[in-house]
């Protein structure tokens, strides 16, 4: 309860982690994109005769 009551004090400290959170988001989105592109390329590859 005490922790929640003083959330205003410590929540604002999380502002320092914002750049890290953005970076993690960019990495996750990049990996999802990579997988999608890899999947598309597999679909496009012509079937061997």
């Amino acid at each position: 309860m005490i922790v929640l009551a003083h959330a205003g004090h410590w929540l604002v400290q999380l502002i320092y982690v914002v750049p890290l959170a953005v970076l993690v988001g960019v990495i996750v989105v990049g990996r999802i994109r990579d997988r999608r592109e890899a999947a598309h390329e597999q679909v496009r590859e012509p079937e061997p005769d």
């Binding site: 604002v12 502002i15 750049p19 890290l20 990495i27 990049g30 990996r31």
Partner: protein
């Protein structure tokens, strides 16, 4: 804060395994009409002319004259922030570029094909004229006592204009303003971090923030320019804290006992402090690049320094935002009063001559959070840029991560230095 950088490094090591910033994804928006360029260029020339006139013809009282605040707050700080958000706006507002282009246009119309072609810009000059210009500017700002006086400032502005006209006359408007013009290059570096830019066809494009820095083409003097920018901002912070103030008196006494006047002794003490900051930042960068392994595309330290020079851009921007945010927020308000009475002679052109700075718009805590957030974001961006470039230079993710351990230490050093300077300035 250092922990955020270390965790960012680990996140990059584990999840960023191929270069993503070398080929930028840009979303085109629209082309900026020529009329907008002409109007903004005209506005830049008008603002420049009014500021020079205020400096030369207005009151000698710094706080009563438009010129010092317009140059050191509106121009130097304001355009840095604007470039970070809106991209290379200074190219549109630059008074000397506007004059140069207008002169070229007139010469082409009146003189036909008789005008002589500009000389090719020498590779060895690179960004050195810009680096020298920024160094001269920060000496005026931080070292020379009269550098903030309206009269000398007006004269210096004219001298700089004539230097730019000469440079453009010899090497051409675009070549000179992109490489030799100190402010064109400096604001252009900051614009690389903006989420908007102009592509090769003149269209406005959207892109990921900070990603544009990967497209920096480093020239001779680019690293020196960035080191000067970081060191001068750091020194400006140290000037307000106990570290430099503790030795300033001793330095001044040493110069006075060597024959300098008291005033000159103080200026030389400030110059020594600035040069020491330059040497320290330069040495840190040298250590960082020395610690990276050599590679086929970067066989020596100088080549590595150039290939990773773009990582200094977000650090320079972080230092500027952290150090000058409060100055812009508070003293920037004073531009309204000074624009209403540019000469300080009691005029009230826009009805703002009696306005005062409202210091309640931001609390000290809010400023602290913005400063720290800027420092952390700038250094995380630098780590990302360095990691992405290392993937290109070293070929494999494993080698790239290994090569960047020393860069991580460098970023932690720069962050700690920035935070320490901020806290020292607050306590000083």
């Amino acid at each position: 804060m250092a922990a955020v950088l270390v965790v960012s490094f680990l996140a990059l090591a584990s999840g960023w395994s191929r270069p993503r910033l070398e080929r930028l994804r840009e979303r085109p928006l629209f082309r900026i009409p020529l009329a907008v360029e002409v109007v903004l260029g005209g506005l830049g020339v008008a603002a420049y002319a009014i500021t020079v006139y205020a400096g030369l013809a207005g009151t000698d009282f710094q706080q009563g004259n438009l010129a010092p605040t317009a140059v050191y707050v509106g121009f130097w700080v304001g355009l840095s922030f604007l470039s970070l958000v809106l991209g290379d706006v200074f190219r549109l507002l630059s008074p000397w570029r506007a004059i140069g282009r207008a002169t070229g246009w007139l010469a082409a119309r009146l003189g036909g094909g008789g005008a002589t072609e500009p000389l090719p810009y020498p590779d060895r000059l690179g960004h050195w004229p810009a680096a020298a210009g920024i160094l001269a500017f920060v000496i005026c700002e931080l070292v020379w006592r009269a550098g903030r006086d309206p009269g000398p400032l007006g004269v210096l502005m004219l001298v700089y204009l004539f230097a730019q006209l000469a440079g453009m006359g010899v090497y051409g408007v675009e070549a000179w303003t992109r490489r030799g013009d100190a402010f064109g290059v400096w604001f252009g570096l900051f614009a690389l971090l903006a989420p908007v830019a102009r592509d090769g066809r003149g269209r406005l494009v959207l892109r990921a923030p900070a990603a544009g820095a990967a497209g920096l083409q480093p020239l001779a003097g680019t690293v020196a320019l960035l080191v000067i920018g970081i060191a001068s901002t750091g020194f400006d912070g140290a000037r307000e804290g106990p570290l430099f103030n503790g030795v300033r008196g001793d330095l001044q006494d040493a110069f006075v006992s060597a024959g300098a006047s008291i005033g000159l002794g103080l200026e030389l003490a400030f110059l020594a402090g600035l040069l020491a900051a330059l040497a320290m930042v330069g040495a840190l960068w040298r250590l960082g690049t020395q610690g990276m392994p050599r590679a086929g595309s970067a066989p020596d330290r100088a080549a590595l320094s150039r290939r990773f020079a773009h990582t200094l851009v977000p650090i320079a921007a972080a230092y500027v935002v952290a150090h000058y945010f409060s100055l812009l927020a508070y003293n920037g308000q004073d531009l309204w009063r000074l624009a209403s009475d540019p000469l300080g002679r009691g005029a009230d052109l826009f009805g703002g001559a009696s306005s005062r700075i409202d210091y309640s718009i931001l609390t000290a805590t809010a400023i602290w959070y913005v400063q720290v957030l800027a420092l952390v974001a700038g250094h995380v961006a630098a780590l990302v840029l360095a990691h992405d470039r290392a993937l290109v230079v070293y070929g494999s993710a494993r080698a790239a991560v290994r090569s960047q351990i020393v860069m991580l230490v460098l970023m932690v050093c720069f962050t700690c230095l920035g935070l320490w300077l901020l806290s020292a300035a607050l306590n000083g």
